[in-house]
């Protein structure tokens, strides 16, 4: 192609006098208008189209990078939050176990304490009851010893003093004895306590 055109150019140079135009020799108007067009296009592209698209591309790259960074950041945050949550959960679990343990120990202590107290109370009650029983038993024993002695003495004297043949009399004697005994019983209580006190 180049060869052909160069040949044409040479041919054109040789036959310059002829009317055949030489395609390699520009006409003045051709250059003028081409220059105008190229200058317009050059300015248009270099001053308008390319900066505009460059700005768009830069903005897009920035947005994408920003988005990626943001995603990464939120992922990290989520991870940190998860770790924090797990940690807190673990702590809470430990604390709950601790509290449960403490409560169990405390409950055990309370039960033990109460048991001890109850047992002490029971001991005390039993002891006081025994002491009372002992005292009463001693009182009864003192009073009985006194009474039995007196009764025996009295009964013997009665038996000696009266004839035992007559059953009527006998029964009268017994009745009288019992009446006396009864009468004595009322006054004898005071007497018994008096003697009991003297005994103790």
């Amino acid at each position: 192609m180049t060869g052909l055109t160069l040949a044409t150019a040479l041919g054109g140079a040789v036959t310059a006098e002829e009317s055949e135009p030489n395609p390699l020799l520009p006409e003045s108007y051709d250059i003028v208008w081409s220059l105008v067009i190229v200058v317009i296009l050059g300015f248009f592209f270099i001053k308008y189209v390319m900066p505009k698209f460059q700005a768009i591309l830069d903005e897009r790259a920035e947005k994408i990078e920003g988005g990626l960074a943001k995603a990464e950041k939120s992922q990290e945050e989520a991870k940190a939050a998860l770790e924090e949550y797990s940690r807190q959960l673990q702590e809470a679990r430990t604390e709950a176990a601790h509290i449960r343990e403490e409560a169990r120990a405390e409950g055990g202590a309370i039960v033990e304490d109460l048991r001890r107290k109850a047992s002490a109370d029971a001991d005390r009650i039993v002891e006081s009851a025994q002491r009372q029983i002992e005292a009463e038993r001693q009182a009864a024993s003192v009073s009985l010893r006194q009474d039995v002695g007196a009764l025996a003495t009295e009964l013997a004297s009665k038996i000696v003093g009266e004839s035992l043949e007559d059953s009527a009399r006998q029964s009268r004697v017994v009745d009288r004895f019992l009446d006396e005994l009864e009468a004595q019983g009322t006054t004898g209580a005071a007497l018994t306590s008096g003697t009991a006190g003297k005994d103790a």
Partner: protein, 269 residues
């Protein structure tokens, strides 16, 4: 050359067959005839492409949002292609960053001016006349000189480019003129001519196929009409090819610009 030379004869021989010729690229003036501001059909085609480009990218840039829609995604796909596949792959991200707008502008503009060659009613590439490829090549030229001088300083820039390291001193006699030609003329000239020639050839091929089809179907006699179908199929294939070429040449122009910037600003070759 032979093809171009024979076409007028063909045209003269057969009426009804309008063979494409070099004159297609020099249509009569519409306004301002003979002045520096003459406007012809191709200039108008360029204006149409310019307006389309301004509209497409202007609307895309104006409506650009953080979350792209389909239209914006398509535009961004093109811009990303220019950024990564052309600029960064050639210059690296660090050095390439400041040339992304330039490379993108060149790729998109060249493509739009190329593609008019296959757009119905425009039917000629804006880059198929020397003016536009020349200006684009000059732009690339200024940029790669600027890149080299800015990065290395004028002295080192010339030294690195004209006196390549690791070569026996005697060879400089041979190498330096070649390197000089390369730097100053050959690189921009190849940029310009490659684009121009591809677009011209594409137009001539398409025009020939469709003119042939027209002639064979409507003016030829009998059995010859069958060949009209063949030429039409050929035209259709070339039409598809031209779409590809339009994109390919835009890519080549852009990547060579990036490559020249890289070469002129590299510490070593």
């Amino acid at each position: 050359m032979t093809f171009l030379a024979t076409t007028p004869i063909l045209a003269a021989e057969s009426d009804g067959f309008h063979a494409p010729s070099i004159d297609d690229f020099f249509p009569p003036a519409i306004w301002f005839d003979g002045t520096w501001f003459e406007i012809n059909r191709i200039t108008l085609v360029r204006f149409v492409a310019l307006i389309a480009l301004l509209l497409v990218f202007g609307i895309a840039a104006k409506r650009a949002t953080l979350v792209p829609g389909r239209f914006q995604a398509a535009i961004e796909w093109i811009l990303d292609f220019c950024r990564y596949s052309i600029t960064y792959d050639t210059l690296g991200e660090k050095d390439g960053k400041k040339y992304v707008p330039l490379i993108t502008a060149i790729f998109c503009s060249v493509f739009f001016f190329n593609i008019t060659g296959v757009i119905p009613f425009l039917n000629i590439a804006g880059t198929s006349v020397i003016g536009l490829p020349l200006i684009f090549a000059l732009w690339a030229y200024v940029m790669y000189f600027g890149a080299g001088i800015k990065k290395l300083g004028l002295g080192k820039f010339l030294k690195v480019n004209l006196l390549p390291a690791g070569v026996p001193k005697g060879l400089y006699l041979l190498l330096t003129p070649i390197e000089f030609l390369q730097l100053v003329i050959i690189r921009p000239a190849t940029l310009m001519i490659r684009l121009l020639a591809n677009m011209m050839a594409g137009h001539l091929l398409l025009a020939l196929c469709f003119a042939g089809t027209q002639y064979l179907l409507f003016s030829a006699e009998g059995g010859l009409k069958v060949f009209g179908v063949v030429t039409f199929a050929g035209g259709f294939a070339f039409f598809l090819l031209e779409i590809f070429v339009a994109a390919l040449q835009a890519y080549v122009f852009a990547i060579l610009t990036a490559l020249y910037i890289q070469m002129s600003s590299a510490e070593e070759h």
